[in-house]
């Protein structure tokens, strides 16, 4: 019995291209991104300049970090729908506590709900085996409820955006958005964690075959709890960045980013069934979605039409991408 995969067989050009794409799944994504930018440039000549690039990066970064949360949870076969609420809570608490608290205290207070929600998610999914979709949706609703209660208590003191977050969210230095100072380390950390640490290995292993991981001595609940806490922390930090960008604290601040963050991870090639994917693809996925949004905005379509088109394009891109990359 010889190994089928290694049997020499004549390969057509189309198949070779497919093989190539399957081995380097980033390439079709980058090609798609370039095509979108070119279309944009054709529709509105001159729009692609330094300022546009900086702006695109600024809006893509919060999406990309939240999509990082989705990437990591999806690798284990899960999902984290509470990232929107967590980001909103951190942002809202930061903006209201900074008014009469020390910045460090305000920061710690802002990250507290993130840790708590992450812990509850992790224990719910890892120990009690609640489906991640339901678990994170539930904690998301609970978090929103608490935020509404909290809002009444601080209604008198008002809110302000700390200067530092303002600088981080919107500032540009030498043509580079300051948000990159946060994003580059975060991205490096996520990529490193996934590829070069024991924890990252376990995320893939648990998502691919939980039973095999168990037989190798992996305790599922530990991995899952740590994962959801990490995901929540990242979401909380994203919230702080995002409030610096949007500058208007509200109770649904980051909510519109949740589903695009899932879409960015899926477009980026992470399998929703677990075990497959990576963060670099997700970053490009977030960029693609951001450029796509710009593109649809300048078409000056009514909002409804834009959404319909956005949905169709996301579906089409994902389906096409999986067809290209899946080599079987």
């Amino acid at each position: 019995m010889t190994d089928i995969a290694t049997m020499p067989q004549p390969v057509s050009f189309g198949r070779r291209v497919k093989r190539f794409m399957a081995d380097r799944p980033l390439i079709p994504l980058i090609i798609l991104l370039i095509i979108l930018v070119v279309i944009l440039q054709i529709l509105r000549p001159g729009i692609v300049n330094e300022r546009w690039l900086a702006n695109t990066a600024k809006f893509a970064i919060p999406l990309a970090i939240l999509a990082g949360c989705q990437t990591m949870t999806m690798l284990t076969g899960g999902i984290d729908l509470s990232v929107g609420t967590v980001a909103t809570m951190s942002a809202f608490i930061m903006a209201t506590q900074i008014v009469n608290q020390d910045p460090t205290v305000a920061f710690l207070l802002a990250m507290l709900p993130a840790v708590l929600i992450g812990l509850v998610n992790g224990i719910g999914v890892g120990v009690f085996r609640v489906h991640p979709l339901i678990m994170t949706l539930g904690t998301s609703l609970i978090g929103t409820g608490f935020l509404q209660v909290y809002q009444r208590t601080v209604i008198a003191s008002g809110a302000k955006i700390p200067d530092f977050l303002n600088w981080l969210g919107t500032g540009v230095t030498y043509g580079f958005p300051n948000a990159l100072l946060l994003f580059v380390p975060v991205a490096v950390l996520i990529v490193f964690t996934l590829n070069r640490t024991g924890f990252g290995r376990l995320l893939y292993a648990v998502g691919d075959n939980e039973r095999a991981a168990r037989l190798s001595g992996v305790r599922y609940w530990q991995v899952i709890t740590a994962l959801y806490v990490l995901s929540s922390l990242l979401a909380g930090i994203t919230g702080l960045l995002y409030i610096g960008l949007i500058k208007a604290p509200s109770l649904s601040l980051a909510e519109p980013l949740v589903l695009p963050s899932v879409a960015a991870a899926v477009i980026g090639g992470t399998s929703i069934f677990g075990g497959r994917g990576g963060y670099t693809g997700t970053i490009i996925g977030a960029l693609i979605l951001t450029v796509l949004t710009t593109l649809l905005t300048i078409l000056q379509m009514p909002e409804g039409g834009r959404r319909i088109l956005f949905g169709f394009i996301v579906l089409f891109v994902t389906a096409a991408y999986l067809r290209i990359v899946e080599d079987r």
Binding site: M1, D3, T197, G198, L202, N209, A212, A213, V218, G275
Partner: protein, 519 residues
Amino acid sequence: MTTNPLPQNPLLDATGVAKNYGAVAALRNASLSVLPGEVHALMGANGAGKSTLVKILTGAINADAGRILIRGQQLDVRSPAAARRAGLLPVYQEPSLIPDLDVLSNLRLTRTPVEPFRAWVRELGIPNLDIRDTARDIPLAILRVLDLARALAVEPDVLLLDEMTAALPANLAEKVLEVVRRQGDAGRSVIFISHRFVEISALCDRATVLRDGSTVGVVDIEPGVEERIVEMMLGTRIEKTRVGARTANDVAAASGGRPRLSVRNLQLGTKLNDVSFDLANGEVVGVFALEGQGQDELFAALAGSIRPTGGTIDVDGAPVKFSHPSDAIQAGIAYVPGDRTEALAMQRSVRENIALPFSAGLRKWGPIRMRREQVVVSGAIGRLQIDTRAQGEVQRLSGGNQQKVTIARWIAANARTILCFDPTRGIDVGTKQEIYKLLRELAGQGKSVLFYTSEMEEVQRVCDRVIVIFGGRVVDTFSVEEADEPALMRAAYGLPRGARADVGILADVRPASDAEAAS
């Protein structure tokens, strides 16, 4: 064989039945002929083709060749429903009631008449069943009896019972056997699949014996016939296989010191009963058993996957309690499951799969020392000669190479004890040889191996000793010199060692049941 010429025409007559799965022939030339009013045993060792034949008869799968006649009519059983219409009804080992429905709804689903069902349930020794109970809340043993009652209630011409008494407590098993016996007396036929000679002798009129997918004999059940049945199941393989030569080194390693693993009175529900044995350093102990005799549970308990309900496990003389596989791994005990899909992350690389246990502990979640890992992993890959041309994803590897990866993981982790559950199932001959050699080498290095196998010849190739499990008990222990195939086969069927036909269990049972029939 010695079939008495009986006047009746067979109720069910299957001849020349064959079934191939790809290149593997599950059935070559099976035949089975059941007379009206007969309880007919279907026997064969592991992999002889019993379950394939049963599935074909009940329409669960279709045969590639062969002819099935029911009451002389050629029949095309293409689906379970068709088999049912033809009067053939199976009761499988797995309970078939839908867990979330109550018993009554389950009956309606199969259009089973309720009153006869109730009568049979009472008959089978369950006086107070509430048919409004949800199936999920009913214990397994009762569910199996309900399955039987449900089959009896529709009065099938041929009832097909697969290991009907397995997992039943003695009192229920007795009732079941009694009812089955009366079915025969009432003129209906029963095909009775069992590994237990005691039941077969008490119950059956004739037996059909399968070996390697073919029917090798039909015998009347009479005192002393169990020896002939064992011979038939073994076929020509009775001559002793050569014991693999052990070097002086191996023998030296195996002797001396306290046992590496010492199991005493291990108990696990109804599956394991009072299992005790030792595993020394440098020793390969074989476990031989027919399917479902408790070997799965034994390995799971030793691997920390399930908790035993009683008994003790000592590692290096110190008692241990495993609540998770990681506890067993901590104690240096690694489990290689028979099913590769249970052990491998199929979409991940060979390297990641081998290195998986390294990252398992909380303290090892940090950065991986890639260079060192590379050295350890390639050492294990080299030792097992894994073909790494397709190492990007384990699922692209051949079955044999996948199996090697599951073992290489524990070579890399330097586990002191390896529990191998049928590691050579479904892999090519060359790889099998390599695995035998590897296991011997491990023993030579002072490691210990517990080796369950479903192929008797492997015992001779690999093991120093072999324990035989039957019905959740260790029924015998052989040194490799004694463990020839007839001895193993007899022990696996629960036959006492060295017993001859005239003192065989059939001799005790048959007169009793005859006397009963006469009164």
